[in-house]
C-alpha cells in the first residue's frame, strides 16, 4: 500500500433529471483512493454509493467534477479512449451478471475476446484465473449449474482477465449467505495481496468493511459524511450515520435505564476484565445490555452498552475509572 492516489474523485456531483424533479445522487464528493488499498464505501440503500462507484468507470457520467484514474481524467475522454481505460478497471456486481449462454471458461475469456486476444491465449489465461479463484474443475459449467458463490468467483476471474489495476465491487456479497460472503472476501483479500490490485468495495454491511477494508468512506444523503481508517471509524465514529451503521439498531437494545453508556474497547483493552474490575472496585452493579467484539485487521475491538447505578456519585466514579484506563465511552442518549 502506498499513499499514491490511483483514483481521485474531485468535486463530483451527479444529478438525475427525472420527469418532474431533479434527484441529486451525489453531492460534491471529493476523495482519493490509494494504490493497493482495499477501500470501502458504506451507506444505506439510496445513499448514492452505487452511483459513485459507477462514476469511477464512467458507467454514469458525473454531472460536474472530475474522476481521475491513474492520472487520466476519464470524464474528458472520447468513447474509444474510455473503452481502453475501462480495461484497466474490473468490476463485479451483486447479481454476478455472467453471460448465461456461455460456460464459466467462455465467460472468463469474454473480456479477452473483446480485446482481440487470440482464442488460444485467452483460454490459457482464463484457465489460470479459474484456478486462482478455485474453480479449475468447473470450466465447462454454465452459470445455471453454479451456486451463487461460484458465480461470483467466475465473475471475479472475468473481471481480472485483462489484468486491471483496479477492481470495483458493487454489493458483491449482498446476494450471498454469510459463509460464502466470508470466502469471497477472503478471495478479494488474497487478490489484493497477491496481485496488488486496488479494490473498491461498495456495501451496506459494516461486517464486510471490518473484514477486509483498510479505509472506509461512510455515505449518507448523497454525501461522504466520514472517511478514515476502518479502526478509527469503528472506534471513534463521528457522524450519526457511521454510528448507526456500526452500532446495533436502537430497537435491538432494551432501554430500561436512563443511565446507559456505551464503552468502546480497542485492541489493547478488549481482553481486560473491565466490568468485573469496575464492579469490585466501586462495589456497584453494572447491567450489560449489549456486547459485541469484532476483529479488524488482526486487532480485536469491542463495544458494550452497560447500565450504571442510579446514584450520581457512583456513576461519576465509574466514568472516572474508565477515563483513567483510557477507555472511550459515551452516554447513549446524546449520540443515537
Amino acid at each position: 500500500m502506498s499513499n499514491e492516489a490511483i483514483i481521485s474523485i474531485q468535486e463530483v456531483s451527479k444529478i438525475f433529471n427525472l420527469k418532474d424533479s431533479n434527484v441529486t445522487a451525489l453531492d460534491n464528493i471529493s476523495f482519493d483512493i490509494n494504490k493497493g488499498e482495499i477501500f470501502g464505501i458504506i451507506g444505506l440503500s439510496g445513499a448514492g454509493k452505487s452511483t459513485l462507484v459507477r462514476c469511477i468507470n464512467l458507467l454514469e457520467k458525473p454531472t460536474t467534477g472530475k474522476v481521475i484514474v491513474n492520472g487520466q481524467d476519464l470524464s474528458g475522454l472520447s468513447e474509444k479512449e474510455l473503452n481502453k481505460a475501462r480495461k484497466n478497471i474490473g468490476m463485479i456486481f451483486q447479481h454476478f451478471c455472467l453471460l448465461d449462454q456461455r460456460t464459466a471458461l467462455q465467460n472468463v475469456c469474454f473480456p479477452l475476446e473483446l480485446n482481440g486476444v487470440s482464442k488460444k491465449d485467452a483460454v490459457k489465461r482464463a484457465r489460470e484465473l479459474l484456478e486462482l479463484v478455485g474453480l479449475g474443475d468447473r470450466e465447462k459449467a454454465y452459470p445455471s449449474q453454479l451456486s451463487g458463490g461460484m458465480k461470483q468467483r467466475v465473475a471475479i476471474a472475468r473481471a481480472l482477465a485483462t489484468n486491471p489495476q483496479i477492481l470495483l465491487c458493487d454489493e458483491s456479497t449482498s446476494a450471498l449467505d454469510p459463509a460464502t460472503t466470508q470466502s469471497i472476501l477472503a478471495l478479494l483479500k488474497e487478490i489484493n495481496e497477491k496481485l496488488g490490485v486496488t479494490i473498491v468495495i461498495i456495501t451496506h454491511e459494516m461486517a464486510v468493511v471490518e473484514e477486509v477494508c483498510h479505509r472506509v468512506a461512510v455515505m449518507d444523503k448523497s454525501k461522504v459524511m466520514e472517511l478514515d481508517t476502518v479502526e478509527n471509524v469503528f472506534t471513534h465514529p463521528k457522524s450519526k450515520i457511521a454510528k448507526q451503521l456500526i452500532l446495533p439498531l436502537k430497537e435491538e437494545v432494551q432501554r430500561l435505564e436512563e443511565n446507559q453508556i456505551r464503552i468502546i474497547f480497542d485492541g489493547n483493552s478488549a481482553f481486560a476484565p473491565i466490568i468485573s474490575e469496575l464492579s469490585l472496585k466501586h462495589n456497584v452493579h453494572l447491567n450489560i445490555f449489549y456486547a459485541d467484539t469484532k476483529t479488524i485487521d488482526g486487532k480485536t475491538y469491542g463495544q458494550m452498552i452497560i447500565g450504571l447505578p442510579k446514584e450520581i456519585e457512583k456513576q461519576e466514579l465509574v466514568k472516572q475509572s474508565l477515563k483513567e484506563k483510557g477507555i472511550m465511552y459515551w452516554e447513549e442518549d446524546e449520540n443515537v
Binding site: 481502453k84 453471460l99 448465461d100 473483446l114
Partner: protein, 222 residues
Amino acid sequence: MFSNEMMMLFLKGLWETLYMTIVSTALAYLFGLPLGVLLCVTDKNGIKPNKPVNIIVGFIVNFLRSVPFLILLVALIPVTRAIVGTTIGSTAIIVPLVIGSTPFVARMVESSLQEVNAGVIEATKSMGATNFQIIKKVLIPEAKPSLLVGGAIAITTILGYSAMAGFVGGGGLGAIAINYGYYRFEPTIMYLMVIILAIIVQVFQEVGMKISKKYDKRIKNN
C-alpha cells in the same frame, strides 16, 4: 380424387408452399433482424438511445403491420412487377410476403433482445466493449433461445400469409384450397389442404421450440 394427377398437384403445392415460406422467412430475417436491433438499440433504455430514429423506424414498422395482408398483396403488385418482372407465381409472392412480415419480425427481434438482462449489458460496458461488440457478442447470443422461439412463430405466421397467395395468382397449398374449395366447390380438397397446412405449422413450431430449448443454457439439464 387421388389420381396421379392430383398427387402431382399436391406435391407441387407442398413444394411451392415450403419454398415461399422458407425463402420469405429468410429474407424477412435478413431485413427484420437489423431493424429489430436498431429498434432495441435506439430505445430510450437501449445502449445508444436515439429518439428520432426510434420514432421514425417504429412508425414505419407499425404502419406496415397495420395494413391487412390481403390488401398489401394487391397494393404491392406494382412493386412486385418492378422487382421480379411478373406478379404471378410463387417467386412473385415472396415480395409482398417479405414486406408484410419484415416489420413483424423486427418487433419480435426487438422484444427478444429487450429480454437480455440490463446488468449483463452494463457489465460488458464496464469491460470497455463497443456498442457493436455488445450487439454481436451479448445481445444476440444471449437472446438466442428467445430469437429461435420468435423464428418458429414467424415461420408459421408467414406460412399462413402464403396461403392467401392463391387469391392473387400465387401458388402453393393455399392456392389449391382456394381454387378447388372456393371456386370449384370441392370442399374435400380444401379440408385436406387445411389439414396439411396445419401439420406443417405443427412441425415448424415443435422443431423451433425443440431447437430453442436445446440451445438454452439457462436450463439446468442441458
